[in-house]
């Protein structure tokens, strides 16, 4: 009896499945088509590729490796050519997926000649669409640029700790200190040249913005960008610009269409997963231990990163323990003091209690403002000239990067950077003082040597 019921249940399930499949059957090509059109022009798969990958056809593997390679290279800002070897493509895709956090070991085990695994790649591709937002990132990267963008970065310094590497200089490689001074000087001079170049760029942008102010249709902006100004000076380039804008618009429209039809795609992917789960139980994984060994060599800095993270967590735990101990000690000391002063008058005690409370509140506020995550700006910003004051301050407009930075005024960023500069200067002076003390100490130990510090 139960067996019959189960049989009926399964039959119903399969009927539902088939109906859904028929409905989906019409919407799915539309979804996949929209998806392909939303990808950048030179990185579009044939819609057939995804279908063949679903059935794990080996012929689709090479195409899929190439597709992922091209897309991920664009995300990482690298260059690629048509003739890049399949081995290089495979290793890059594996590294990039690991970097973005894709943890499926079956992908890392795929052969390096790209001959199999199209279904795994389909899974990876869909995962990329969802988690790091592959489409959104690509669309943001390939926008038509207005030309007057500058980068802003107020992230904290990620300088390595000073204890590292002080005693790592090997005796085999003696470098003359004068050569190091030479290189340092070159670096400084190159930085000065770069600075002059930036100043020139800003001056020219200012000229463009000033001369074209009042001409733009968008009242918010008020003046032309570099691209628009270039178009006025060389109108025959309008065709190229029009093509680019056209292609971008088509991609965006396809993206909107894709967003509407997305659920169909994900339902289809679920069936792919189901198929894989059924088949997956049949083949065993034998080389699990190989994975751990292979990953670090693809990314030389990954080991260093994990080492730093381990060290950081160990330091944090140690600090926390230390803090707990200190707090316990302080508390014990206070309780003793309070116990010996229990005979104090009530009013005086409440007055002092109020003072204590106020001072602790102040300190807490100071602490929270120090530790509060500062508004970090990072990415590209388009420069827009605003004349709020007669002097004509520049303001930042829309942002073309991943993090949507709201409109920020240049004056704010400048003051923030100046504050940071002052604090870095102070730190530099402190370090210099320390070095001077060390040198004096060493010079005292040497006979007949006078140390004149710079």
């Amino acid at each position: 009896m139960r067996g019959q019921r189960r049989e009926q249940h399964r039959e119903q399930h399969r009927e539902q499945h088939r109906e859904q499949h028929r409905e989906r059957g019409s919407a799915l090509p539309a979804a996949v088509g929209a998806l392909c059109r939303a990808l950048p022009p030179r990185a579009r798969p044939a819609p057939d590729t995804l279908r063949r990958a679903r059935f794990d056809r080996p012929q689709a593997s090479l195409d899929f490796w190439k597709l992922l390679y091209v897309l991920l290279k664009q995300i990482h800002g690298g260059r690629w050519t048509e003739s890049d070897a399949i081995g290089a493509q495979v290793s890059f895709v594996k590294w990039a997926l690991w970097y973005h956090g894709y943890g499926r070991p079956q992908l890392q085990r795929l052969p390096a000649d790209g001959s199999a695994g199209s279904r795994e790649l389909l899974l990876a591709f869909s995962w990329l669409l969802h988690s790091p937002g592959l489409l959104e990132q690509l669309l943001a990267r390939n926008r038509v640029q207005p030309g007057d963008q500058t980068s802003v970065c107020t992230c904290g310094d990620e300088l390595p700790s000073s204890q590292e590497g002080t005693s790592e200089a090997g005796p085999e490689e003696r470098v003359d200190v004068r050569y190091l001074q030479w290189l340092n000087g070159r670096l400084r001079l190159q930085w000065c040249s770069l600075h002059a170049q930036h100043q020139e760029q800003c001056k020219l942008w200012y000229k463009i913005h000033l001369f074209t102010s009042g001409s733009h249709m968008d009242q918010n902006l008020g003046h032309f960008s570099v691209t628009e100004t270039d178009l006025i000076r060389q109108p025959e380039n309008y065709k190229q610009l029009l093509q680019l804008l056209d292609s971008e618009t088509k991609q965006l429209e396809a993206f909107l269409e894709w967003k509407q039809l997305e659920p169909v795609y994900w339902q289809w992917m679920e069936t792919v997963l189901d198929n894989m789960a059924e088949e997956g139980n049949m083949c065993e994984s034998q080389n699990v231990h190989v994975e751990k060994r292979r990953l670090p060599e693809a990314t030389p800095w990954a080991a260093k990163l994990t080492g730093q993270m381990d060290r950081l967590s160990r330091d944090l735990v140690a600090l926390q323990e230390h803090l707990h101990q200190l707090v316990a000690q302080r508390k014990a000391a206070w309780w003793e003091k309070v116990a010996t002063r229990e005979e104090l008058q009530k009013e005086r005690f409440s007055a002092t209690a109020r003072k204590i409370q106020e001072s602790t509140e102040l300190k807490l506020r100071g602490l929270t403002s120090l530790c509060a995550p500062k508004k970090k700006m990072h990415g590209l910003c388009r420069l827009v000239l605003r004349s709020k004051h007669p002097a004509g301050r520049m303001g930042f407009g829309q942002c073309g990067s991943k993090e949507a930075v709201a409109a920020v005024s240049a004056a704010e960023v400048i003051t923030e950077l100046q504050v940071r500069e002052a604090s870095l200067q102070r730190e530099l002076q402190q370090l210099r003082q320390q070095c001077r003390h060390r040198l004096d100490g060493i010079a005292e130990g040497l006979e007949g040597v006078i140390c004149i510090s710079p």
Partner: protein, 447 residues
């Protein structure tokens, strides 16, 4: 990319005027010996660097003229205007009614601070006219009062006001038997102060130029004008546009930066010497032919043997073979870095391998870092082929040592110190300057 020239004192103003004159006549000439397109970019590049195309009919030099007496400045302005091909701006000069009496301290401690604002305003205006400020080029003599004292002060102000700009000081070394008694004091004070504020010191020695005029140019009665014209020719051969290695296809847009980067990154080694071949009277030019191998060979020997011109070179001096540096032959001139600038016909096939010999250079720098070459097919100032060498080497070690020695002797006997103390330059200040220069001498000696 534009360079702002600051002409300081009588010497600076006279030389500056000759420099602009030479640059202007070079670009106006039709003897470029290269394609029209090349010539056109050369002219545009030179004009952008040194002149400003304002509403006036002729290009206006990007320069600020400073002197304590009005006579030299008005002469300079009128000579420029009389040429009809360029001029100075009528607002870019600063002068007072009385001079400095060859007193360095007067120029540095009195005139400098008093007139700082006015002078820096002029400089600021010139700097703002540039789309891209490529740096400052100051011209002064080391021995006089205004040029040296005020010049040292102005260089310091430039450094304070423009901390990231390149500053190249052109310094004229006085005659060994000069007329100014305290010229050695002035020189020591100037050099040590400049060493702290500027990026590089490009030196011309009056004695050397005098010899060039006498022996190469066959001038009988050598006037200051002749000397200045030779200096101007040599400076022009360095600063006219060239194609540099990293510059892409056009003319370099950062000549001062690239010069500094190739020659003076090390803060202790900032003294640059300049050699130029060939040099001959203009009348002989049509009858002379030049070959690049010959020019390169002579230039290299001039470098090694520390010769000042292409006549009387000591061909016996050879670079050391692979023996350690302590055994270097006495007269051999060790270089830190060299820059060779070639202008003229067939310049792209020239072999400069002889300059990349590691034995020419100090042990801690390899020839890839130490040697650079700039080229242009456009001929300069009617010379079909010309080569210039800007060298950071021991060229100036002996002259520097001699001046410091003479100044120290005077200082030890406390001669004339009261003139300086009157305006605030005490003995400790002198001692600091001597220390700085002794350090420089020692660094250059130990190459």
């Amino acid at each position: 990319m534009s360079i702002v020239t600051v002409q300081l004192g009588q010497c600076g103003n006279q030389i500056g005027q000759e420099v602009f004159s030479a640059l202007c006549s070079d670009i106006r000439g039709t003897h470029g010996l290269c394609s029209k397109k090349e010539n056109g970019s050369y002219q545009d590049s030179c004009k952008e660097r040194f002149f400003c195309e304002e509403e006036s009919a002729v290009p206006v030099a990007r320069a600020v003229l400073v002197d304590m007496e009005p006579k030299v400045i008005s002469q300079t302005l009128s000579m420029a205007a009389r040429s009809g091909h360029w001029k100075y701006s009528s607002h870019s000069h600063f002068c007072q009614k009385q001079g400095s009496g060859n007193n360095w301290a007067n120029g540095y401690s009195v005139h400098g601070p008093r007139h700082k604002e006015a002078i820096m305003n002029l400089v600021q205006k010139e700097a703002e006219k540039c789309d891209r400020l490529g740096g400052f080029f100051t011209i002064m003599s080391m021995a006089g009062g205004t040029g040296s004292g005020l010049g040292a002060f102005v260089t310091q102000c430039l450094r304070d006001a423009f901390p990231t700009s390149f500053i190249l000081n052109h310094v004229v070394w006085p005659y060994g038997t000069g007329e100014v008694i305290v010229q050695n004091y002035n020189s020591v004070l100037t050099l040590s102060h400049l060493y702290h504020s500027s990026d590089a010191l490009l030196v011309h020695e009056n004695d050397v130029i005098h010899k060039i005029c006498a022996q190469l140019m066959n001038i009988k009665q050598i006037s200051f004008r002749d000397v200045n014209q030779v200096i101007a020719h040599q400076l022009g051969s360095v600063f006219q546009p060239t194609h540099t290695a990293g510059g892409g296809s056009g003319y370099s847009r950062n000549p001062l930066g690239e010069l500094m980067e190739s020659l003076v990154p090390h803060p202790e080694f900032r003294m640059l010497g300049l050699r130029n071949i060939p040099q001959m009277p203009e009348s002989s030019l049509p009858y002379s032919t030049f070959s690049w191998p010959g020019l390169i060979k002579h230039l290299r020997q001039m470098l090694i043997a520390n010769a000042q011109m292409e006549e009387g070179i000591d061909w016996q001096v050879r670079p050391p073979s692979s023996i350690p540096s302590t055994n270097k032959p006495l007269h051999f001139n060790t270089s830190i870095a060299n820059l060779v600038i070639l202008r003229g016909k067939d310049v792209h096939g020239v072999d400069l391998g002889s300059f990349q010999d590691p034995s020419l250079y100090t042990s801690w720098l390899n020839p890839q870092d130490a040697f650079n070459a700039w080229k242009t097919p456009r001929a300069f100032n009617k010379y079909e082929k010309s080569a210039a060498l800007v060298s950071n080497s021991q060229f100036l070690l002996k002259p520097l040592d001699s001046i410091v020695g003479k100044a120290w002797n005077m200082f030890a006997s406390k001669a004339y110190l009261h003139q300086y103390a009157k305006f605030g330059i005490q003995e400790e200040d002198f001692l600091d300057c001597f220390t700085t220069l002794e350090q420089v001498i020692s660094s250059y000696t130990n190459l």
